[in-house]
Amino acid sequence: MKEFGYQRVFDVPGAVALLGADPEARCLGGGTNLVDLMKAGVERPGLLVDVRELPLDGIEFTKGGGLRIGATVTNSDLAAHPEVRRHYPALAQAVLAGASGQLRNMATVGGNLLQRTRCGYFTDLARPCNKRTPGSGCSAIEGEHHNHAILGASSHCVAVHPSDMAVALAAFDAVVHYETADGPGELPFAEFYLPVGDTPHRETALPSGALITGITLPPLPVAATSRYRKVRERASYAFAIGSVAAALDVRDGIVNDVRLALGAVASRPWRALAAERVLTGGPAGAEAFAAAADAELAAAEVLPHNGYKVTLMRNLVVALLTELAEEAAR
């Protein structure tokens, strides 16, 4: 790990001033990903701006009845919050499905959004990786990739985004708020993460020097009947090989509203809009659920060892929607 400066900040203008002035500055939240990557030599900041004392640790209702979640709210506090659990249960479940109790206590909402991929080549300085060293190549495509992307990847990178939380946020149309020296800004979740293309090292649309200040969740009645399911290679404390956040509102057997997002299948949490379109206004049943999954996965592109994910995601989508529909019918 190379040497670096450290500055604790107590207000947003102070943080933004530091971040804007030094291109080598990085925000330190919980440090659960950043410090690990610094030890691996992947991240080499010159200055750490410790943001945990910023007054961004609240969760409150917005005027419209949604929720505003501060950027430094810990994952634990987010998952334990009664209003999150009441109105967006899949978000609480997604957070609880990630990492461990210790890491959730440390990790912040803002940091969670900015997590880097867990692709084994990304953290190994001795191997080519376009995300770490642009232009060096992708080792995973010809190498170990059984947990790599089936949607939205490119020939430059097939890594997946590791966050569980972000999958639920994608389903619920969250908006990311940030601040730069030029003032505040916001990005709808669908625009927050950039497509891979030939620039896998550019992961978000945040302007340089920006500080994430929080996220807002719109009021979303369907989210009250939502669920997150995660499949991984052991029962806990592991990254997903596939996950689904789903919210379903069924009236008289017809899908009135639905939200669906997939995890561990792409470089970003994957909002399943094609599937939602197939479902909305149609019957809530196994056939429709399967058709919806197939519609979303029609675009899947597989490598020799990750084709199982197509089956997995199809089964997961059907299973989760079926569960939600059955509960609604009770």
Binding site: G30, V35, A80, H81, R85, L103
Partner: protein
């Protein structure tokens, strides 16, 4: 201007203040083990992937290998050395000892610190990934073996002492619950993080 890459800090550990200069790269784990001779906190992976280095920071469990020491200034740190009340073991420690909740002992301080927090987190009403229904109206799930296993999963034990560890946590939780029911404090350590907690409490004020 060259930034300073080290700082003189004061760490508050087990109720004692320790002033020391630290290289900013120094993790809390390395500060404890290599600078302060508090070697009860163990380094298993140094990557947040095993839980052996678990300590309590402001009453909440955290992995000290990913916590920079400089960023821990001003926070209350409890390590395994601060868990017992003098010569009297904490009920969690006693249960690990009585039920053989370890083998080689290297993951044990982390398991114990984690278990302390698990009991408090559960008492505070936190759900887990093992909880069937996370909605608040579902209430707090009982601390079943399945709940304990999920909540303790951030602490690997390669010897495979999991079965007796879970028994020990269950026993200590029962002691804790009995103590709470009688309105007396357990021999537990302070865990202000959960009670004052809480980013969450800010938010509920806005509930319509």
């Amino acid at each position: 201007m060259a930034l300073s890459t080290s700082s003189a800090i004061t760490l508050n550990i087990n109720g004692e203040k320790h002033a020391l200069p630290v290289d900013h790269r120094t993790t809390l784990l390395d500060a404890l083990r290599e600078r302060l001779d508090l070697t009860g906190t163990k380094k298993g992976c140094d990557q947040g992937q095993c839980g052996a280095c678990t300590v309590l920071i402001d009453g909440r469990r955290a992995v000290s290998c990913l916590q920079l020491a400089v960023a821990a200034e001003g926070r209350e740190i409890t390590t395994i050395e601060g868990v017992a009340d003098g010569e009297t073991l904490h009920p969690v420690q006693q249960a690990f000892l009585d039920l053989d909740g370890y083998q080689c002992g290297y993951c044990t301080p982390g398991q114990i610190c984690s278990a302390l927090a698990v009991i408090e987190e559960h008492a505070a009403g936190w759900p887990s990934a093992a909880s069937a229904d996370v909605r608040p109206e579902a209430g707090v799930p009982p601390l079943t073996p399945e709940e304990i296993r999920e909540r303790m999963s951030g602490n690997l034990c390669r010897c495979g002492a999991y079965v007796s560890i879970v028994e020990a946590v269950a026993r200590a939780a029962a002691v804790h619950e009995a103590g709470s029911a009688q309105g007396i404090g357990t021999q537990g350590i302070e865990t202000p993080g959960l009670e004052a907690g809480a980013a969450g409490s800010v938010g509920t004020e806005g509930a319509a």
